[in-house]
Amino acid sequence: MLNMKNISRIYRSDTIQTHALRDFNLEVKEGEFVAVTGPSGSGKSTFLNVAGLLDSFDEGSYELDGVNIQGLNDDELSRLRNEKIGFIFQNYNLIPDFNLFDNIDMPLRYRGFNAAERKRRITHALEQVGLASRADYLPSQLSGGQQQRVAIARALAGEPKILLADEPTGNLDSLMARQVMELLHTLNEAGSTIIMVTHDPEQARAVGRNVQVIDGQITDHSVYAPVHDNASIVVKG
């Protein structure tokens, strides 16, 4: 699904070069749930940005769902982002004066779906996150956890090959964080490939695979037995 080989990302200023990623190698298979951990400034977010085609890389090769990223132009990269990737941000990144329907509608518009198809996908995505009855709510009328579920619904509506989550529970209290995590586990069990950057070691242990990044390089691959209890969490709208 995702295959990075010897990826380097260097940020340059007039006097300083910073290696945000160096010789970064990672392969993620379809259906995996990977947690990326590491201290602040270790390169986790850079990795996620490169993986999500939000940032370029200086060296190495990167294949996403069999497509070699190198040399693609903006149109091609945008289409890949739209069709293959779903983003879940720490700050939800919902447009405040769009209702939930219109927020989820946004990526589908750029895909060129007709109105009926968009509506079907939006309704289904909202059902998946338990917010089907609130399609015309504004984000400000929802709790933080609910807003993050809307962001997940937006990511899901395009039926992407991979979900990239950047500290998806970073702004949530523990109960809401559990709900969101449970939702991600449910999606993974349903077949979604997920890469999640997190600071939380418990969350990292709760997923199948943990990748630790330090100084722009992977220092540890750990595989854990999942510890989450799917039955104990009930997702409510």
Partner: protein, 429 residues
């Protein structure tokens, strides 16, 4: 089309969401475009071709004959009665007209009221009408040089007779009766090319058209220049004397005709020199309507200077609007980044910006027309001489809309490019 509608909806939301900002920005642009438009309206009217279908065929005739010896002086653009008659009576031109302007008091001779109306008279020749394409509503021009017959304009016809067919009615001019043989339709010539001197260039067409001989016979006043020792006792006494007061225009269809006319007036002035008169260094001159208006500087240099100033003002307004938009795009870069992250191409973001600029441009166009009209009224109030030169016609309305759209786009271009170039990874967390 679906995406266009989507962008339109997004733009409308943006405008509503940031209404104060956009009111400020649109007003800034509209003031700049409005001032520019008002200025263009004046200059356009000043520089219009008054008779576009044959402006290259009508020529002002200026002779280099003068009674005093002053060879380096400019050509005098008026001529003596005898010169005018020589121009008139050759058969080279398709149409020839000579004229002078006078003012009279007039009333309907049948009217019980003794109120008299001041009227502008064009003392001319029958060739005036086909040459200027003056449109007749009723009747035609007079047939005899000394006939006590006149043609009146629509305005005077409305004023004195209440409109309608007044052919056959009698108008009292300075106490004498004159038969109306023709009535013109409403008629405008801007600029009034046949009489651009003495602040007349943007005046309305005349009230009365009378035979030049009749006008002189009846002593209708003239402004005359004379540097000779001739004693001129009356208007009619100008015949055979050195009073300069008549302008001449001819219609020449081709270069051959023009060459013939040039040769004719050159021979004529040579003949006058042999008679003891002086010639100026400049050659006898035939200027077509556009050359004539340019020569007479119909478009005032001060207006051109003001046009430059208003263009610069418009540029300042565009820069201001652009700065405001730059700030707005900076604050909205999260949304742009988000759209790009979920699949919008750079060109999608750009198209959306273009649609937004169109919407802004349309709002700006409405305000521009209001401001343009307002500035024109202010200009007319401050400078009444502009009264006749300040029309906002359909062409200018379309131009105003066009400029508003273009300036909106220009204002948005740089902020939009900046917005499209913002690295995605820096805008989203």
């Amino acid at each position: 089309m679906e995406m266009f509608n989507y962008y339109l909806k997004l733009s409308y939301r943006n405008l509503i969401r940031n209404r104060l900002f956009f009111i400020l920005m649109i007003t800034t642009l509209a003031v700049g475009v409005g001032v520019f438009l008002a200025n263009i309206a004046i200059i356009k009217s000043m520089s219009a071709d008054p008779i576009p279908n044959k402006s290259d065929k009508i020529f002002n005739v200026s002779l280099n004959i003068w009674t005093g010896n002053n060879p380096r002086a400019e050509l005098i653009e008026i001529m003596r009665y005898d010169d005018a008659m020589h121009i008139l009576k050759n058969d080279i031109a398709t149409h020839t007209m000579v004229h002078y302007q006078s003012q009279v008091y007039t009333r309907d001779i049948e009217s019980k009221s003794l109120t008299r109306h001041q009227a502008v008279v064009r003392a001319t020749t029958p060739g005036f009408f086909p040459l200027t394409e003056a449109p007749f509503a009723y009747g035609s021009a007079w047939q005899q040089d000394h006939a006590k017959q006149i043609v009146i304009g629509d305005s005077l016809n409305q004023q004195v007779f209440g409109g309608g067919n007044s052919v056959g009615k009698v108008l009292e001019i300075d106490g004498k009766p004159f038969e109306i043989v023709g009535v013109l339709k409403p008629w405008e010539l801007k600029p009034l090319f046949y009489h651009v001197a003495y602040g007349q260039k943007f005046k309305a067409t005349d009230d009365i058209y009378a035979p030049i001989e009749t006008a002189m016979d009846n002593e209708w006043a003239i402004n005359v220049r004379n540097s000779s020792t001739d004693r001129i006792n009356s208007v009619s006494d100008n015949r055979g004397k050195n009073g300069y007061f008549i302008q001449a225009f001819v219609q020449l269809e081709n270069q051959q005709q023009k060459n013939a006319m040039q040769e004719y007036i050159d021979n004529y002035s040579q003949h006058r020199q042999e008679q003891g008169e002086y010639l100026r260094d400049n050659d006898n001159r035939l200027l077509d309507v556009k050359q004539w208006l340019e020569h007479k500087e119909v478009v005032d240099e001060r207006m051109l200077a003001f046009a430059l100033a208003s263009s610069l003002f418009l540029a300042v307004c565009i820069f201001n609007a652009s700065s405001l938009l730059l700030a707005r795009y900076h604050s909205a870069r999260f949304e742009t980044g988000l759209r790009r992250a979920v699949g919008a191409r750079i060109k999608d973001v750009f198209y959306q910006g273009v649609v937004e600029s169109m919407l802004i441009g349309l709002c700006c166009a409405v305000l521009t027309l209001i401001f343009g009209w307002l500035f024109l009224q202010i200009s007319i109030t401050l400078f009444p001489a502009l009264q006749q030169t300040s029309d906002i016609d359909l062409t200018l309305i379309l131009l105003g809309i066009g400029i508003a759209l273009v300036t909106s786009f220009i204002s948005m271009l740089y902020p939009l490019i900046r917005s499209c170039r913002t690295p995605l990874s820096t805008t989203l967390k």
